[in-house]
Symmetry: C2
Subunit: 215 residues, 2 copies
């Protein structure tokens, strides 16, 4: 495998192609998930040849790992949410902030939003690539939900309860992020402008905090 050697003396063209492929792959995987996103569509958006994916990344999975690496890096740089910042807030505000940040993809289409959508896809049906990836080094973003949940649970809560609650909280915003396009159409017809986003944050935060009982 001379890929590493190639990278060391990479020409500008090489880096251009690699970057274009990673960028295109990020948007395609965010839209369709790993299994649903095709190499042909990625290379088409990157105006690159189909074989380029295999040449530069060893395959579709290698390209995806590169995207996941970039996402992990972004989250480690707290581009999404600072764990320490969370601790400085009250439990209620921490929950609210978590939901708000996670629902941002509904109105913004920046880089972090695409990463969040990819994670939302993986929370539905994890690809083998992703499973192997998180088995090696669990992404920080997954620990944020647990961090928020623990603020509410008693110290002596069982591991099962913590797992239930963490999975539960993590699912709250993911559904809306993943299915934004579908929810925009009948029979739901939900339009997500910034006001609707705030109302959704309100609703989810209220339900998450106090449930339907005090709605």
């Amino acid at each position: 495998m001379s890929n590493l050697d190639q990278a060391r003396v990479a020409s500008r063209s090489t880096e251009t192609t690699r970057a274009a492929l990673i960028k295109a792959a990020t948007s395609v995987f965010a839209e369709y998930g790993y299994d649903g996103g095709s190499v042909r569509l990625i290379t088409q958006r990157a105006t690159a040849n189909q074989a380029a994916v295999n040449y530069h990344f060893g395959g579709k999975d290698g390209l995806y790992r590169e995207v996941l690496n970039a996402a992990t890096r972004a989250f480690e740089e707290n581009a999404f949410l600072d764990a320490e910042e969370l601790d400085g807030l009250s439990p209620e505000d921490a929950l609210r902030r978590y939901l708000h940040q996670f629902l941002l993809p509904l109105v913004k289409r920046d880089r972090v939003s695409r990463y969040l959508r990819i994670f939302a896809w993986e929370s539905v049906r994890p690809s083998v690539v992703f499973s192997a990836f998180v088995a090696h080094s669990p992404p920080r973003i997954f620990l944020l939900a647990e961090r928020v949940v623990r603020r509410f649970l008693p110290q002596d809560a069982s591991a099962e309860t913590v797992t239930f609650a963490t999975l539960w909280l993590a699912q709250q915003p993911m559904f809306f992020v993943r299915d934004a396009e579908r929810l925009a159409q009948p029979p739901f017809s939900l339009k997500f402008d910034e006001d609707a986003l705030e109302r959704l944050v309100d609703t989810l935060a209220r339900f998450s905090l106090r449930g339907l009982g005090n709605a």
Copy 2:
């Protein structure tokens, strides 16, 4: 199309094949969803020829519609949950009963459980077949969540709020039903026996009713 004529004078063998295909399709679609379930696997489980699906049902989509019809019929016969029974309960008990019935597939593998799993799949990424099917006649099961939710919301709640809340409640149990196998493995390792089911119902009902705030 002489399919209708054929059906009218169908031999016993015809009905046997049709029934075997529908039964096999129900289990395959419950396991893998519509897109993920292949005709080859269905016909293999039914010990039928691949072409039989097209001959008897006009295609994979026709077979799926047949399964959806059977599911709709089962739910209309209140095999899952009686809408009037719900109204007889307190809001809290109605919610609890809704969650319990919806989580039953975690420990039972009967016919209704398979139907529920199919709906859980469709709640993630609806197939075009399903979308067209529910556009024609929305299945009763989808109205149950709204029925439960309305008990908690004020009379003058906006349509958007009702939609938010209904989608929210419907998602609560679906995640666990859909991903039962995955959650049974590391890193979650959740074992769903009947006791764990009760604890999960407890947790979800508590969160849904009173949120994390009073956990």
